[in-house]
Symmetry: C2
Subunit: 279 residues, 2 copies
């Protein structure tokens, strides 16, 4: 058991900071309300996975389905701290699944729009075939913690726990690995459990893959991100790996995988992002 | 230049069967109307990429943006031939992009819902980095044409031109390769150009990857498919490769890549599908 950092001592009550930062309520008028909390940002703009998780809370609550099996978010403008509304619309419902759209707005301006299908991951079985293995990484204690600095790492890194693979951690000191890849460990602070909605945050929690490539790129705003939640994670650190294979025409994709301590793939993600030239 | 099959002789007018099968019109009341044409089906159900392309036509027409840069479809029920309506709603518009949702309905029942961001692929440049290569394959003439049979291959295979990698083509005769992979060439019939919307069909045109795995699976209904159009393809055959790495808990993902004759990645796709046990 890892007892370093903010993991908390045995016997402590687990934290609930993520649950509080993504909490939503439903008004009598049918609008959902939430709050983009302070400190979950990158240079003032809330992390995209955190924003998606707020919408994920609405989708699971509104549909009564426990897991966002597949969720796609299109990002319109930066999310700044403050109250937000989320309007959700069910587009189809079957015995096993509900599909819905939702748009999160700040001051009536859309921040992100989501299309998702929700269901119960425990409800089905089927044939099994796994042709991949968890990415090899040193144990969390041998990895590099990301903690907020000025201007890097951003405040968001203080809200979750991130430990980078040492080979991928040098970009902050001007030593990119040369491969558009980012690998590391993720967990919530104070042993707060990572549920399926928190996985929507995990898949966007790491610095951009492109920071490890020798390219003149300083930021990569996400246009769209899709996350598949494939299994409910075991408690503990999650092993994450992201890579980019195609930067072209002003766009890049970043593919992500999240594995739990039991060696199971729990989430997959892909995002399409803009690649502005560094200014 | 390939002059075999239905590629047509030089000088012929290129075909327009795909353009006609995906044509849409806008009513005075703001509804878009189209037609699921006969023959684009697998066992009576229209191919999912073909249905997405119909919605893609609506999205490009309604937004005035030439390319569906990233498009996600959630499938609700099989598409059967006949008239359909498509309702589209713009959720955000910027200088460069428009994001919209659309639902295609048959007899008022939703068949698929789409969330997409559209733009102009030619409008941007940026740094380039490519860490992948087109999948090696024998030339189209040395591959195995898929032509409709009874019950396999399905009618859809007669509407487009598909040539399978010989190593991946034995599943129809009970000789799956053992790898959940499907590689081959795609083009439209009669030299009809493949535009960005037709790529939405290409990414779902091949038999399921899982047919090449030794699993008791006879069909894999798609829950969700996301396609990124990364470049406008050169005329000619497109090199396509699909693979599945995780079949678990009753779901699988299938990742696709489409490359053009100039060796450029033109589309990427991922779908999440159900894995029912064979009956």
């Amino acid at each position: 058991m890892d007892r370093t950092g903010s993991g908390g001592a045995p016997g402590d009550t687990p934290g609930d900071a993520f649950a509080r930062a993504t909490a939503v309520t439903r008004d009598d008028d049918g609008h959902w309300r939430g709050q983009v909390h302070e400190g979950w940002d990158i240079r003032g703009n809330a992390n995209g996975g955190y924003l998606l998780a707020i919408v994920g809370r609405v989708l699971t609550s509104a549909t009564g389905r426990p897991q966002p099996l597949t969720t796609t978010a299109h990002y319109h403008r930066p999310g700044v701290p403050g109250p937000v509304t989320i309007d959700v619309e069910t587009v189809n419902e079957t015995r096993r699944f509900t599909t819905a759209t939702a748009t999160l707005r700040r001051d009536a301006e859309p921040v992100l729009t989501v299309l998702g299908t929700l269901g119960d991951l425990g409800a089905t079985t089927g044939p099994e075939l796994v042709r991949a293995t968890p990415p090899p990484m040193p144990e969390p204690d041998a990895c590099v913690p990301l903690v907020p600095g000025d201007p890097f790492p951003p405040p968001f890194t203080g809200r979750v726990e991130l430990r980078l693979h040492p080979e991928d951690a040098g970009f902050g000191e001007g030593r990119p690995s040369g491969e558009a890849r980012m690998r590391g460990w993720f967990r919530l602070r104070d042993r707060e459990p990572v549920d399926a909605v928190a996985l929507l945050c995990a898949v966007d929690a790491f610095p951009p893959t492109i920071f490890n490539a020798d390219l003149p790129v300083s930021w990569t705003p996400t246009i769209e991100m899709t996350a598949h939640v494939r299994a409910r994670p075991e408690p503990g650190w999650l092993r994450c790996a992201f890579r980019t294979r195609h930067v072209a025409g002003g766009f890049l994709e970043a593919d992500g995988e999240v594995w739990d301590g039991a060696g199971r793939l729990v989430a997959q993600s892909r995002q399409l992002a803009l690649v502005p030239r560094a200014r």
